[in-house]
Amino acid sequence: MQNVLSKARTTIGALILSLVGHGAPVVADETCQSPYMTPIKGQEEFVYVWTLGMDGVGDESDKLVTIDVRPDSETYGKVISTYSVGGQHEAHHSGLSDDRRTLWAGTLDDSQLYLFDIATDPAKPRLKKHITDFVEASGGATGPHTVFALPGRVLITATSNNRDHGGRSALVEYTNDGDYVATYWIPTPDNMQGATGKEFADGYNYDVRVLPRKNIMLTSSWTGWSNYMRDSNEVLQDAEAMKRWGNSMTIWNLHTRQPLKVLQVPGAPLEVRWALGEDHNYAFTHASLTSKLWLIYQDDKGEWQAKDVLTVGDPENPTFPGSIVITNDDRYLWWQGIADGTTRLIDVSDPFHPKEIYKKKIGAQINMGSSSWDGSRIYFTSSALSKWDRDDEQAEQFLRAYTWDGKELKQSFSVDFVAEGLGRAHQMRFGAHSLYSDVQTAQR
């Protein structure tokens, strides 16, 4: 563990030194990633989009789509590679190993894990391993979601289970080679595993992020397969189903993977974003159902607490945020609304008193946002879930790239995922040749 913490400190320290020492950012990497992950030196060159197969579109199958984002490339803003895995599995999130050689892509429906080699030729990812026994190996966890890099390991949040397809689930740990290590179930009232906060525990799970210097891991909560796989009209009109959304976050001991405290955070708190400053011991999350921004922080006594600090948009007309992105100086946070297709910039420099300062309509619907490390480029994708996406005449599926100059978002390019025969664009990850200096890379 000492090595883990030491490496984390080194990595974070290197990043901070890079930023401070040069006055202007010289490294580019997406924010919100694992501190154990190798950074990209220079601009991201490729955006990998884990894409859901869509009826009537292309081969209708889930696929990894690679988009060229090298500004000087002849194929800038174009799709340069696709890898279809065959069939529709509810592709959703993906993540990178600490060495960024492998992109792990999970499926929420049938719990597949596809491991893509993005090091041999970053412009053309290739499947190197397909894990089909995630459920069996984990002891019943289903619906792999977040893939979070730990040193030599990945930690995967599962979102459901094989006993009732409800929201009770677990964290599942693998080696970088794809070998199962362990399962850690989220605390429930009848099995708190030593944690406090029994009155808030629901066993649900969604995202995970860590704060190594505090030896803390934080998980959030969503809903189970029976809700996220189901048509949204049906769920919204089913009073029983609407009671089955996560209302908790869990503080864990990162080293031992033991839960310590369950916090009450109602309304399906989704993405976890720790502030990056070395003395910023707080994280944000967005309650998707209530459109509230929550702050997770240590109080004067060192106790972890949760507080809602902002309602974004009209409470009577929730934005249903799908993702948040924090900037590398912890001053701002991008908020992506599924319902209104709008991204909002929130000033979080005072984390207890955030303010919305800018907004821009990106499309009919947006879900994910990914920012370059320096914050000058931000990418948006459209799809939430196959059965939650808009389906009216305004429905669209896209990746749109923007530049941010501190005042205005300006579109750089847009890829129409329907016209291109691709499907529903969801999670993005960045790649670059510069990560793999030890590899004889293919054509630049």
Partner: protein, 383 residues
């Protein structure tokens, strides 16, 4: 099935699972809990421990669906009353929306017909409905399903041991029926009071509720009792107006509905235009969808009331959330419609009487619920 034959089967109990569990399962059938009649067992499918164990294993095996995500038990969840308490209507393969609530499998051995519209005739047959329905388990063919089972190493020899031959359609139906036939639940507080003579087995409210149930509320006309046992069903089909509600509701439906996003937070929300890839909730004609007989319009089967406190939400579409909601629905005379069953009429019940009826219904929970759950979970989920 003759008692002697069953006892013989008990003695020869051996199967893939926990032998004690299988022995107890057979014992439940041989001597049903208080309040339940003798279990009808088809002459061509006598119960054996090997069949029960095999049927249980199949029931909990998610490999029995096209993409290996759905088992029978994903909609008939042991800890949720062998139905799904968390949704009004269950969710099929790839999230397909299903129009009807999952009926409990408690005491399904006594059902004379299967499904809410009584379209199938036996437990042995009915399983092929969900196994092959593209909205439920979505096996693309019988052959695909049989090959899946035959090719699974952990099934090697099990059909041979239970039936003397490899898996086929008949044996598959018989194995699943054999397990389900053992899920018997009785000896409830009501049974111990009414049939067992324990005067203090139920609270006063439940006794008052029973008097109303069999008296002025008239529930017993459809939820019938016998002299020595009670299944609380007439095995018939009735139009209570619940089916008509859906039709009327659709006609009036607007683009927005009120949604409780979290306790106490209710907002109007705009619905999508289409189904988003899920199956559309279509008009449900009930039994008429099978018979084409207008007299069967919106007619659905009378469910048993045993363990009803565990099987929310209620009615064929899961539209009522609590037992009190159900009692009030009948108190108000159901939903008027041209084909409303004449047995459904407004009832003169005050709130205390509604509460008494609920107390009675809550007294129908069998004493072996935990045992049945443990029995169910004695087998590993197949993935």
């Amino acid at each position: 099935m003759a008692l002697g034959t069953l006892l013989g089967a008990l003695a020869a109990a051996s199967a893939a699972g926990d032998e004690d569990v299988d022995v107890r399962a057979l014992a439940r059938v041989a001597a049903p809990p208080l309040g339940l009649p003798a279990v009808p067992v088809p002459a061509d499918n006598p119960l054996t421990a090997a069949k029960v164990a095999l049927g249980r294993k199949l029931f909990f095996d998610r490999r029995l669906s096209h993409n290996r995500t759905m088992s029978c038990a994903m909609c008939h969840i042991p800890e949720q009353g062998f139905t799904n308490n968390e949704v009004a209507t269950p969710v099929g393969v790839r999230g397909r929306s299903l129009p009807r609530n999952a009926p409990t499998t408690y005491n399904v051995a006594y059902q004379r017909s299967m499904f809410h519209d009584a379209r199938d005739t036996s437990l042995e047959n009915q399983i092929f409905g969900p196994l092959l329905s593209p909205d439920e388990m979505a096996n693309p063919s019988v052959g695909f399903l049989l090959e899946t089972i035959a090719g699974a190493p952990d099934y090697a020899g099990l059909f041979e041991a239970a039936f003397g031959g490899p898996v086929d359609v008949i044996k598959l139906g018989q194995a699943l029926a054999s397990y389900q036939r053992t899920v018997l639940s009785g000896n409830s507080p009501f049974d111990r009071w009414h049939f067992g003579g324990e005067s203090d087995a139920v609270p006063d409210a439940a006794r008052r509720g029973y008097a109303l149930f069999t008296g002025k509320a008239g529930c017993v006309a459809c939820h019938a009792l016998g002299e020595r046992d009670a299944l609380f069903t007439d095995h018939g089909l009735h139009n209570t107006g619940i089916g008509y509600v859906l039709v009327a509701g659709r006609a009036e439906r607007k683009d927005a509905v009120k949604v409780e996003l979290m306790p106490g937070v209710v907002v109007p929300m705009k619905l999508k235009r289409g189904s988003g890839g899920g199956a559309r909730r279509e008009k449900d004609l009930g039994r008429m969808g099978i018979t084409d007989d207008p007299r069967d319009l919106y007619a659905f089967k009378t469910p048993s009331l045993r363990n009803v406190a565990l099987t929310a939400p209620y009615m064929h579409d899961g539209s009522l959330r609590t037992l009190a909601d159900v009692v009030r629905f009948y108190r108000d005379g159901g939903t008027p419609n041209p084909a409303l069953d004449p047995l459904i009429r407004p009832l003169d019940l005050d709130d205390d009487e509604v509460a008494a009826l609920v107390a009675f219904l809550e007294s129908l929970t069998g004493d072996d619920v935990d045992e049945l759950t443990a029995d169910a979970r004695s087998v590993a989920v197949g993935n």
